[in-house]
């Protein structure tokens, strides 16, 4: 008996070692971009040859990154966009996705094809017409552009929610229906608690999408309403009296500052996704 247990233990440790080795290797490989960003952001601010690894340490670049542009104004604008996006995703996309996943109605298939269609069309095909149309209806350079988009829901997210909710075992809802629960109860008491991973996902995706979105703001907003992403995309770090010289290291420093919140958010979100959550209700 003891021998069997030992064999199992060594097998487990072997698995563990293998797993850790792979993880560490992968971690180093995938970590490089951050190292690259950090190393390049610490070069001297006039240096324009990118480097592979740390050489010098000019931390003042980070101060420049924040001081040379209206950083906090942009940050505020970014947070506005994030709030709108998260609302749209967590509320609207969820409800629409639920409808596609669990409810039947005439015309459902057609509408679903519409959802897929939106995902398939490359953005540039409608970029200019969209600009013209937004201008015609007078919402250019306002946050209505983003709010209405969020309210309408993102096709990508709707599809995602639908796939997720479709994978739930039907028995739970059937049981609830037989017990006479209406849809409202079903949604609030059953579906939502079970979709905790989905919520984490939706929240994170929405946050990152809004945080990183530079296309939207740079197309539809003017400079004073810019978000951080749009500011990174434009060339806003330059020598004031020599505007044609871009200060790459400072731009990299701004990238680092820009990326760190997302990393922290990911670290925080993934905590909710650790295996061991036993689904309730299957037995009840």
């Amino acid at each position: 008996m003891g021998q069997v247990r030992n064999r199992r233990k060594t097998k487990k440790t072997r698995e563990a070692i293998l797993a850790y080795a792979t993880l560490i290797a992968l971690g180093v490989i995938f970590m490089y971009p951050l190292v690259f960003l950090a190393a390049n952001s610490l070069r001297h601010y006039m240096d324009r040859i990118p480097i592979m690894f740390f050489t010098e340490f000019h931390f003042e670049n980070y101060y420049f990154a924040v001081a040379m542009i209206p950083f906090f104004r942009y940050l505020l604008n970014t947070l506005k966009l994030v709030a709108i996006g998260v609302f749209g995703s967590v509320v609207m996309d969820f409800l629409v996705g639920y409808a596609f996943a669990k409810l039947n109605a005439p015309g459902k298939n057609f509408l679903f094809k519409l959802v897929l269609f939106q995902i398939m069309v490359p953005y540039i095909a409608i970029q200019i017409p969209q600009f013209v149309w937004y201008n015609t209806i007078g919402i250019m350079d306002t946050f209505w552009v983003f709010f209405l988009s969020a309210l309408g829901g993102s096709a990508y997210n709707i599809f995602l929610v639908k796939q997720f909710l479709s994978s739930f075992p039907r028995e739970i809802e059937e049981a609830a229906k037989i017990d006479g629960a209406g849809f409202a109860t079903q949604i609030t008491k059953i579906v939502i608690p079970l979709s905790k991973p989905l919520y984490v996902l939706l929240f994170f995706n929405a946050f990152v999408a809004a945080w990183n979105d530079y296309m939207g703001p740079s197309m539809f907003l003017t400079e004073k309403n810019f978000t951080l992403a749009a500011a990174m995309f434009g060339k806003l770090y330059f020598l004031p009296n020599k505007p044609e010289i871009t200060l790459e290291p400072v731009q990299m420093a701004a990238c680092v500052l820009f990326t760190v919140p997302v990393i922290i958010l990911f670290f925080f979100c993934q905590k909710f996704l650790v295996q061991g959550i036993v689904t309730t209700g299957l037995k009840g």
């Binding site: 995938f30 490089y32 951050l34 991973p197 990911f266 670290f267």
Partner: protein
């Protein structure tokens, strides 16, 4: 009295709820997306150059016929398919593999997960610079590492190896599905594994009989998105183009010259906006066909609601 009750029966109530829930989606689609869609379609049938919006000439399906007879466009499409075949399945496997590896609670799990997810977080501005440094023939990271193993310097950005470089780049950034896969794996009730173990199932059986089917809707999602993004491949290709200082207009070398690159060239270089748009709508059509095929295959391998 009886008829009223029967009117609002379960089916009708369900349908009503459906319409209420999708109402904002539909109305806003009509309000802000419908007109641009049709406008875009219309533009693809004109001689739009980008600068003559006020004096367009209708050309009908001319542009579309041209797409099908344009040898370069068709070759580019074939190339895009090839690159897709090489990267999409591998990318899905990597994304899933990492998620499985990171599913169990371990020491430092959060750190590992964050590190592996990093490629998706790096902004494009930095990514371009970074990859050029990595692939630099002279003193780039990759060649330096390979040099340790005695491998000769490889000209990554030259004709012979640029496709390999592109694939490396794409596989490296295929961990974007990590969070999604993790969330999907959470939805598998642990009891299933336990009862399977009691029945004497080994690792592989657990994987193929429980894990895969339970997350198949999400796998399906990843596959679909992979196909769509793969066929629209553009951004990463121009990062590796020679003389990348031209930004979105850099021309990649031929082995990586994809369909969308060609479309952008037509639009910005040749002032053939209408034609470029037609190219894109043709691509949408091709994607749609592929999606229909994949969706039909759903019933063989995707399990909904158990």
């Amino acid at each position: 009295m009886v008829s009223k009750k029967k009117f609002w029966n379960a089916k009708r109530r369900e349908a009503m709820l459906f319409y209420i829930l999708v109402f904002p989606f539909v109305t806003l689609f009509i309000a802000i997306k419908l007109v641009p869609f049709f406008n875009g379609l219309y533009l693809s049938m004109t001689n739009y150059t980008g600068y003559n919006y006020d004096r367009l000439n209708w050309v009908g399906i001319n542009n579309y016929q041209r797409v099908l007879t344009d040898a370069q466009a068709m070759a580019a499409l074939g190339r895009t398919f090839l690159i897709g075949l090489l990267t999409i399945p591998a990318g899905l496997a990597i994304g899933l593999g990492c998620a499985l590896l990171l599913n169990k609670a371990r020491k430092g799990l959060g750190v590992f997960r964050t590190l592996i997810y990093l490629p998706s977080i790096v902004p494009t501005v930095a990514a371009g610079l970074m990859w050029r440094i990595i692939f630099n023939t002279n003193a780039g990271l990759l060649n330096t590492i390979l040099g340790v193993f005695g491998v000769e310097k490889i000209l990554w950005l030259g004709y012979d190896h640029i496709r390999a470089a592109l694939i490396i780049m794409m596989l490296w950034s295929s961990t974007g599905t990590l969070l999604l896969n993790l969330a999907a794996l959470q939805g598998i009730p642990v009891e299933l594994y336990e009862s399977a173990a009691l029945d004497g199932a080994n690792g592989w059986a657990k994987f193929s009989r429980i894990t895969i089917p339970m997350i198949s809707p999400i796998l399906f999602f990843n596959l679909l998105m992979g196909i769509i993004n793969g066929l629209q491949l553009y951004g990463q290709v121009v990062l590796l183009a020679p003389d990348g200082s031209n930004g979105i207009l850099s021309i990649p070398l031929r082995p990586t010259y994809t369909y969308m690159v060609h479309a952008y060239q037509q639009i910005l270089g040749y002032s053939r906006f209408g034609y470029g748009l037609a190219m894109m709508w043709v691509l949408v059509f091709v994607i749609a066909i592929l999606i229909v095929v994949v969706m039909r295959s759903q019933k063989y391998w995707v399990f909904y609601g158990d």
